[in-house]
């Protein structure tokens, strides 16, 4: 079958990766409990890079939180990969490049989180993009994947252009790369400079985070990558970008004008809505998840926006709530989205298709995977009693507090609308994930592959379950989660020092109570409603036999949404019926429906077309005629002579 050597290598490397993560977690915990001022002031250390430049690193509370996220993500994804990679070995696909980029990718993410100066940041940031690009490219046999990887790298590179510009500008202004120096220099800048810098950072980081309209790469890349990688990218890498928003905008550029908060809020809301809308009409299980990542990033953006607003309105309570919501949701989304990607990975390995329309009835064949996925969707749709819900509750509350604390102004009308919008997003996400889970796991198998599906490698089913256990724990022991979240808050709160406990009312502390009551009630109901007599019968279908094709298809399930939002999705359908002579017997019917990628059409295609046009024009300069070239020479000479007189 496949060589023993490669297997042992796999086990060795992946367990190494897990081991590193676990060690890191333990160290972190120890460090945290040792206490001290480090999570406020930060631990500094640096590596010499020659020529007067040294890479400086810093570990403070904020970094610690995201490191925790990263380490969790790393350990779980590695555990999952342990099982997942087996398939490649069976296919005799060399894994060398995968391992190399895997570790370098993780390493560069650590670098980005720890970086304490612009140079280090740019260095590690680019490396992060690069190695994730190689991971996305791993299944390069498929042209689509290559395209995805290409779009991904180009988009992030364009983003990096803005980042580099901003970094260099700050460098030029402050004469140093160090973040602290920037933070000191920021107040001296004019408001225009600040705004420009903010916009540059927003575009640069927003591209990585996947804010609409910079999101177009995300669905392709996240769905093209192998599932462990997708779960890392969606669960962790996106968060790294958000971390930088805090590090570079919140902590470095300072409060800034009110509209920054509004921009975050608006773009966040837009991303959430667009993301979930596109997710709801996808039929590709991984694309759907990727789009839902965009949605959740949007929600996180809204939380950040609310925090920014509260900060500029000096509304400590709302700010704390918003930040709490932000970090809470960051953690939860990491867990749930990774779980879902792993579930998707199992399905893909079991059926070798990503198309919902060909799945169905998997819950019977892969029950454990199904359980994990079910918990996952409850979490991701932000429904009680799992963590996802509490995050949104906090966000709602922070928006509400923000509004009610405002003295006056139209903001009091606009802010609540975001609550309504968030509710709409929630409804849509329920629809989306009902589709995702229901069509793939429930009902009848829609194709032979789904019929033949087998439960995945034990590691691959255990990992999501462990993660769901962790998710439950985070709700059962909110104090622990809050303690973790308190780390970054200590760094971010400027001035006042009251702990979260004091400002946060009881619900968030009572998550455990709610959960326990819920499970008690469930238990009683289950016990009370124990019935002996049960009989398995065919589904009633008005007497006619039931075929798989009679079920609702994935497309059909969300059709009302597609019709309602036809304008946004640019969706259109074409049905041509072919009647045999008489209009009573339908001979054949051909249905075509498509969803337009509106943003690509509006923003990117014209841009690229323009670029290529210019390039072709430039190429005309070189059309092989030596006389012309001599002409260039003469003209240059003359121009220089005349201009420089």
């Amino acid at each position: 079958m496949f060589s023993k050597g490669s297997r042992s290598i796999r086990q060795l490397l992946m367990s190494l990766s897990i081991g590193l993560a676990v060690v890191g977690l333990i160290l972190g915990t120890v460090l945290t409990f040792l206490g001290g001022e480090w999570h406020k002031t930060g631990l500094h250390f640096f590596t010499e890079a020659g020529a007067g430049i040294s890479l400086t690193w810093k570990l403070d509370g904020l970094t610690a939180f995201f490191l925790c996220i990263l380490l969790l993500g790393q350990s779980f994804s590695s555990l999952y990969a342990l099982g997942y990679l087996q398939e490649y070995e069976e296919k005799k696909k060399p894994l060398r490049s995968f391992y190399v980029s895997w570790f370098l990718f993780l390493g560069s993410m650590f670098g980005v989180l720890l970086a304490d100066d612009g140079f280090t940041f740019l260095l590690t940031w680019e490396m992060m993009s690069l190695f994730s690009f190689f991971l996305v490219l791993y299944e390069h046999e498929d042209l689509q994947n290559r395209k995805a990887a290409y779009i991904y790298l180009i988009m992030t590179h364009v983003g990096t252009v803005f980042l580099t510009a901003a970094v260099l500008y700050l460098y030029a202004m402050s004469g140093s790369f160090a973040f602290e120096v920037w933070a000191k220099a920021a107040p001296t800048l004019t408001i225009i400079q600040l705004n420009l810098l903010f916009i540059a950072f927003f575009i640069g980081l927003g591209t990585k985070a996947g804010f609409v309209p910079f999101h177009i790469w995300l669905p392709y890349a996240h769905s093209a990558a192998p599932s462990p990688v997708s779960s890392l990218m969606s669960g962790v890498m996106v968060k790294v970008a958000l971390y930088l928003f805090i590090r570079l905008v919140w902590l470095t550029l300072g409060p800034g004008p009110v509209w920054w908060g509004w921009l975050f809020l608006a773009i966040g809301a837009l991303s959430a809505l667009i993301g979930i809308l596109y997710a709801s009409v996808q039929s590709d299980i991984k694309k759907l998840l990727a789009f839902s990542t965009i949605e959740n990033v949007g929600i996180l953006g809204m939380a950040l926006g609310s925090a920014f607003l509260a900060r500029s309105w000096h509304n400590a309570w709302a700010m704390d709530l918003a930040l709490l919501a932000f970090f809470w949701h960051t953690l939860q989304h990491m867990l749930f989205k990774s779980m879902l990607f792993m579930g998707a990975g199992n399905i893909i390995q079991a059926t070798h298709t990503r198309n919902l329309e060909r799945l169905g009835g998997l819950l019977k064949r892969m029950p454990k995977t199904g359980l994990g996925a079910l918990i996952g969707i409850i979490g991701i749709t932000a429904l009680p009693q799992l963590g996802g819900f509490w995050g949104e509750l906090l966000l709602f509350q922070s928006l509400w507090v923000n509004t009610s604390q405002l003295l006056n102004g139209w903001s009091k009308v606009v802010l609540p609308l975001f609550i309504g919008l968030l509710a709409l997003v929630g409804g849509l996400s329920i629809a989306t994930f009902v589709k995702w889970f229901g069509i793939s796991f429930l009902g009848q198998a829609r194709s032979l592959v789904a019929e033949k599906a087998k439960e995945a490698h034990p590691v691959q089913v255990i990992t999501p379950l462990i993660m769901s256990g962790l998710a439950v724990l985070s709700v059962l022991w909110p104090a622990g989660t809050l303690a973790l979240i308190n780390l970054p808050l200590l760094v971010m709160r400027d001035g006042e020092t009251l702990g979260i406990g004091s400002v946060i009312g009881k619900p968030i502390h009572m998550t455990s109570v709610y959960l326990m009551i819920f499970s008690l009630l469930l238990l009683t109901v289950v016990i009370l409603s124990k019935r002996k007599a049960r009989r398995v019968t065919p589904t009633w279908n008005c007497g006619s036999p039931l075929t798989p094709s009679m079920q609702y298809s994935a497309t059909g399930l969300t059709k009302p949404i597609r019709i309602l939002f036809a304008k946004v999705l640019g969706s259109h359908r074409q049905v041509d019926r072919n009647f045999e002579g008489t209009p009573y017997s339908l001979h054949s019917l051909n249905y075509e429906g498509e969803i337009k990628a509106v943003f690509e059409d509006i923003f990117y295609r014209p841009l690229i077309r323009g670029l290529l046009w210019v390039a072709t024009q430039i190429r005309k300069l070189q059309e092989g005629n030596i006389h012309l070239y001599l002409g260039y020479l003469l003209i240059t000479m003359i121009v220089v002579l005349i201009l420089a007189r």
Binding site: G50, L122, L168, Y169
Partner: protein, 484 residues
């Protein structure tokens, strides 16, 4: 002395056509070259400058830097061309007995370049530069087919014309200086000139500098005078292309730098030349972005990227702050190494696939994994992606742009670099992945990886820049800023 080595070697090449003889002779010559050159460099760096003979040969940090680049790349390229050229003969691209002429011209070429960087005299520099043109013309036209002849013709005509402007410039300088330093060589000697720089006749010097910069600029291949460059690079045998882009362009740039550092001391001041250089640089970047994006021929692609990098260097030197000059000098070395490596590996590829059309090359990774790896490394390095050294050098040049108050220019430069990156990535992905066509036979020795040495050096320099190199670079900055 190593010029002598090169000359003798060149003549020696003509004596026999046996492979082994040629290999032996070349290796010996290279050894001597390295030893003597290395010794000179050590002398120069330890004393800051080094005079040989009756002051006809003279080196300071800047020349030493160039000298080291020339030697490194000459060694790398000639060792590579053993295997390569013999393979070419086997595919009978040219008759066996012409091989010696190949080596002859290459050694002449090297000799002239060595001359350029070893003389303190602007006049002799001109002679040397013109010499390189002549030495390479027949190398460019080496295959003697239609395209080769065409390329060679364009090359010689355009470069000679350009260079002759430079000669005029030199004469004007001489006219300005001879009243002060007498009708002798010393009137063109940049050890003497700075002493009288302030009394030089401004109008004469200004005119001279303009002619010189434009003239040598044509040789460097600044847009829009770059037209000859892609043709020459794409038609020459790959080792020659490597030498051309990695060293020759730098030598021409070196001549400009001498003028530039002289101009800084005169009443003319740095601004005029600096601005002209920056305009050239920016123009080159902007235009090359377009060419690279739409390129079909892989060697032309590399050639255009050389022009682009010359543009970056011009920006760096033209800005004229310590930081940018430092970065530019570093970039000069790194680009040399990277480009040489790329040309070599691509030459291999072209030899294997028998085509230069990127749209006809697929699945390199499947067929020749090591070549693929090296190509990836080269791609990253040439596009200035971290952790490669080019990232650092480009970053310091860019930061200079921002510092001197051209944020818009800096931003545009970044954009152009991105477009170039996009172009490169697109072409390389197309070649590296996908289904290879059946005709090619896969497989290659791991020994291929030896070719990656320069790139590994670049990579290392990206992570850590040793103190000694840093010192050298600072000396170079000193030379350019302070004249002597």
């Amino acid at each position: 002395m190593f010029i002598g080595v090169a000359m003798i070697a060149a003549v020696g090449m003509l004596l026999s056509t046996k492979y082994n003889y040629l290999r032996l002779l070349n290796s010996v010559a290279l050894l001597l070259l390295t030893v003597s050159g290395g010794w000179t460099i050590r002398q120069t760096l330890s004393q800051g400058s080094y005079t040989y003979g009756s002051g006809l040969l003279y080196w300071d940090a800047l020349s030493a830097l160039l000298l080291s680049v020339i030697i490194m790349i000459a060694v790398y390229v000639i060792l590579f061309s053993f295997g390569y050229m013999e393979a070419e003969i086997r595919e009978n691209r040219f008759p066996k007995e012409r091989l010696r002429w190949y080596y002859f011209w290459i050694w002449i070429f090297i000799a002239t370049m060595l001359l350029v960087v070893s003389t303190p005299n602007l006049g002799i520099i001109w002679v040397g530069i013109e010499g390189t043109t002549l030495a390479t013309t027949l190398l460019v036209g080496f295959y003697r087919n239609k395209q080769a002849v065409e390329a060679a013709w364009k090359y010689v005509i355009l470069c000679t014309v350009g260079i002759s402007f430079a000669l005029l410039g030199t004469m004007l300088l001489f006219a300005a200086a001879s009243p002060l330093l007498g009708q002798s060589l010393s009137a063109l000697d940049w050890r003497m000139l700075p002493k009288v720089a302030s009394q030089l006749d401004p109008t004469l010097f200004r005119l001279g500098a303009l002619f010189a910069v434009v003239g040598y600029g044509a040789k460097v291949g600044f847009a829009p005078m770059h037209a000859w460059l892609p043709d020459a690079h794409s038609q020459a045998p790959s080792p020659v292309s490597a030498l051309l882009s990695a060293v020759l362009l730098n030598c021409a740039l070196y001549a400009i730098l001498r003028w530039y550092s002289l101009a800084r001391l005169t009443t003319l001041g740095p601004d005029l030349i600096g601005t002209i250089l920056m305009c050239f640089g920016f123009l080159s970047l902007a235009l090359m972005a377009g060419f690279i994006l739409m390129q079909k021929d892989i060697k032309r692609l590399l050639a255009y990227s050389s022009v682009e990098h010359m543009g970056i260097l011009a920006l760096g030197f033209g800005l004229g702050t310590r930081e940018t000059i430092w970065g530019a000098s570093l970039h000069l070395v790194l680009h040399g190494l990277t480009k040489a490596n790329l040309f070599v590996i691509i030459g291999n590829l072209v030899q294997k696939t028998g085509t230069r059309h990127m749209s006809r090359i697929h699945g390199v990774f499947k067929l020749w994994p090591y070549t693929g790896i090296i190509m990836i490394l080269g791609l990253l390095s040439i596009t200035g992606t971290p952790p490669f050294g080019t990232f650092r050098s480009e970053l310091s040049i860019l930061s200079g742009l921002f510092k001197t108050g051209h944020p818009i220019l800096g931003f545009l430069t970044l954009l152009f670099l991105t477009v170039i990156f996009a172009g490169f990535l697109y072409h390389f992905l197309q070649m590296l992945y996908g289904q290879p066509n059946e005709s090619q036979q896969p497989g290659e020795g791991i020994s291929t990886l030896i070719l990656a040495i320069p790139l590994l050096v670049v990579l290392f320099l990206g992570l850590f820049i040793p103190q000694s190199l840093n010192q050298t670079l600072n000396q170079v900055v000193q030379v350019i800023l302070g004249g002597v």
